[in-house]
Amino acid sequence: MSTDAPSQTRGTTTGGGAGKGSKGGPGLAGAESADRREVTQGRWAYTLLTPTLILLAVVIVYPIINAIIMSFQKDAGLDPATGFFVQGGFAGADNYVHWLLQQCNGQACPPGTLGSQFWNAMGTTFFFTIITVILETILGFWMAVIMARAFKGRSLIRAAVLVPWAIPTAVTAKLFFFMFAFDGIINQLFGTQILWTGSEGPARWAIIISDVWKTTPFMALLILAGLQLIPDEVYEAAKVDGASAWQRFTQITLPLVRPALMVAILFRTLDVLRMYDLPAIMTGGANNTTTLSILVVQQVRQGLNGASALSTITFLVIFLVAFIFVRFLGANAVESAAPKKK
């Protein structure tokens, strides 16, 4: 900002701001009018932004605040005298204690309650996140590098690669559910008798495979977009200087594609952290495949306020992860338009 501002002012002054400069010296007057213009421009910007801000407040801020308020309310309890539910009232931090400490009515939640599965679901969610994002990044990068080369039928390949991403996740999940069935095509193809959806390891890997199949194209296209911003001359110059293929990759491709790569990883990470369809349809959350989102949905059926607390916790977790990405790893998914380095 501090380096940009003067040059901009100077530009406007020489342009057409002279007519208004009646007070003081010419230089000063020019700066003043430019300031005024900036102020009016700023005002305009706010006027134009207001509808958007109001809309965002209604559709995003209000539900969030509402959910947070609800998360401090008790779920309705049964009045044994009448057999009807009565409103629970203020709960303090009970709902949060229930989840974070896995406490039901002052003692450890017994197996078979949702409360007993919180940390397990958290672990499962992060397990899926870490494994799938690593696999998708590597495979996506590889696919992007191939697609970036010039060859016959490149546009066809690019379109074809998008097909898995275009299929709705629920459909993908059902598809893989049948493929991973005991009599399904995967077991028949490999001559195995694995209970894919009936035991922990295979169930988790079935979900990971499905997710990688579905979302690697997304990753590949984002990275491809980044790759295409790198001018060919840079590579040619490097070749002239005698850089090896590996050196070109690590010294040119990686650093230059890094912004796009970080955005792709950020988006995928946030996406997997709220994964619902694949495990819900393929295993129903059995065998340690219950993610936080599945837990939220199951809790909604049992009590809305407990679910609000859980989704608030989920929100905070995702917030934290996204924050780390943006703040410390420099993924600038949102403000990418601001600093132009040309």
Binding site: L56, I60, P63, I64, N66, A67, M70, K74, D75, A76, T82, G83, F84, F85, V86, Q87, A91, C104, N105, C109, P110, P111, G112, T113, L114, G115, A181, F182, D183, L195, W196, T197, G198, L270, R274, G284, N287, V296, V297, Q298, V300, Q302, L304, G306, A307, S311, T312, T314, F315, I318, F319, A322, F323, F325, V326, R327, N332, A333, V334, E335
Partner: protein
């Protein structure tokens, strides 16, 4: 500059995270509160009403409503179809009840939802002026629609489990569980698996576990809704399933079976016995791929020393307390259990009737030959736990019986965990 630098990414992240989480918290309008005021209003109201039900796949509702409408031109019924997904139907009803929607007059509820909706004060108690004559209805269907001693819905269709068996290999179907297990040697001789039900961790497992427990005299919850599952009878029942799985009489892939996988295995000739719903009958008879078209029979589920206790399925019609025209709603709900209607549901949509007389009706039996067997099944059926905490109870049953089946915990441990989990869920937090 420093704090701003910090804030921009934070705000950006917040927007990102919110749009990506997108699960928020749903609407906050209160549930509960008894609804006793609403229940005393509109009792004499007559006029147009709306009937809400799941997707009309077998086209039974349109003709039914047309018939009603031509007889009652001043009290027309409008059909509102929901999706064909049961969970979504449930959530749709919840949303409209929470909003005190007067436009959902009569709704169909799955047998396992009625207690929850009744306890939330959303269903009109069917007593006094609204009373319904249930004398000719099958007792289990009435019991499933009754909460706290009051009837809250009119049973509309029923369902029960059947034992499908290979009559070419087993001339007389087994009457008891132990007899069936002793016949598993026949399966071995023919290089096939013996028996399967639904053991994937989902609602079907609750159905199967409840059947095992009820058959041997156990109860998951008592009439007051208190957990009573940690009993020797329940242990005897659940142990039968666990032992059968351990010994291989239930094949190891059974742990991944829902209704359809079991049906396919049976039609492929891979199973000697299969527990499933009546819908399998017509498919196994007519499916091109079915290898058992002419070689299977149906029998009541095998029990301890007679027919076993099937879990009850089916739907009831309930009147919303927020309805303005409850007199019409009441007439329409009872219109649905008239013999003529019930017969139409059975022949057109293969829905099991709720009155026992119709199971002997020649027209129905001609179309659905399994009807007499199904009657035995439903006469011995036990509703799944009638409790307003059903979602938590079924979760407790599924998780723990699944662990027991897989041998991750003993039957004793599973039942005591089940008991504790139901207690924890029912105690108000």
């Amino acid at each position: 500059m420093k704090p701003r630098k910090f804030l921009v990414p934070a705000a950006a992240v917040a927007v990102l995270a919110v749009t990506l989480t997108a699960c928020g918290g749903g609407s906050g309008s209160g549930n509960g509160g008894g609804g006793s005021d609403a229940a005393s209003q509109g009792l004499d109201g007559r006029g147009p009403i709306t009937f809400v039900t799941g997707k009309d796949n077998s086209n039974v509702w349109r003709p039914t409503i047309d018939r009603w409408n031509s007889a009652h031109p001043d009290q027309k019924v409008t059909l509102k179809e929901q999706t064909d997904n049961a969970d979504q139907q449930h959530d749709d009803l919840v949303q409209h009840f929470q909003a005190n929607d007067a436009n959902y007059d009569v709704v169909t509820v799955d047998v396992v939802w009625s207690a929850e909706f009744a306890a939330k004060g959303w269903l009109q108690p069917l007593k006094d002026k609204m009373a319904v004559d249930t004398a000719k209805l099958l007792p289990a269907t009435v019991k499933a629609a009754t909460y706290n001693g009051t009837l809250y819905a009119v049973p509309n269709s029923s369902d029960g489990g059947l034992l499908y068996y290979r009559k070419d290999l087993v001339p007389t179907p087994p009457k008891t569980w132990d007899e069936m297990m002793s016949m598993c040697s026949i399966a071995k001789q023919h290089n096939m698996s013996c028996y399967a039900g639904q053991y994937q961790k989902y609602e079907g497992l609750t159905v199967n576990a409840a059947e095992a427990i009820n058959t041997f005299g156990g109860k998951i919850v008592d009439d007051q809704g208190k957990a009573t599952v940690n009993s020797p009878e329940a242990k005897a029942g659940l142990s039968k399933l666990v032992d059968a799985y351990k010994s291989g009489n239930i094949p190891k892939e059974g742990i991944t079976y829902q209704e359809e996988q079991g049906r396919q295995a049976f039609e492929d000739g891979k199973l000697l016995f299969l527990r499933n719903w009546p819908y399998v009958y017509n498919l196994a008879k007519s499916d091109g791929a079915s290898k058992v078209k002419d070689t299977f029979g149906v029998a009541p589920l095998p029990g301890k020393d007679g027919p076993g206790a099937s879990s009850l399925g089916g739907h009831s019609a309930a009147i919303s307390v927020y309805s303005k025209n409850k007199a019409t709603a009441h007439d329409f709900a009872t219109f649905l259990i008239q013999d003529e209607q019930q017969k139409f549901f059975a022949t057109q949509g293969s829905l099991a009737p709720v009155s026992s007389e119709l199971y002997k009706d020649p027209a129905i039996v001609a179309k659905l030959p399994y009807m007499p067997t199904l009657l035995t099944s439903i006469q011995n059926a036990v509703p799944r736990p009638v409790t307003p905490f059903y979602p938590a109870v079924t979760k407790a049953v599924q998780d723990n019986s699944y662990a027991a089946l897989k041998g991750e915990k003993t039957v004793d441990q599973a039942l005591s965990d089940m008991q504790a989990a139901i207690d924890a869920a029912s105690a108000s937090k």
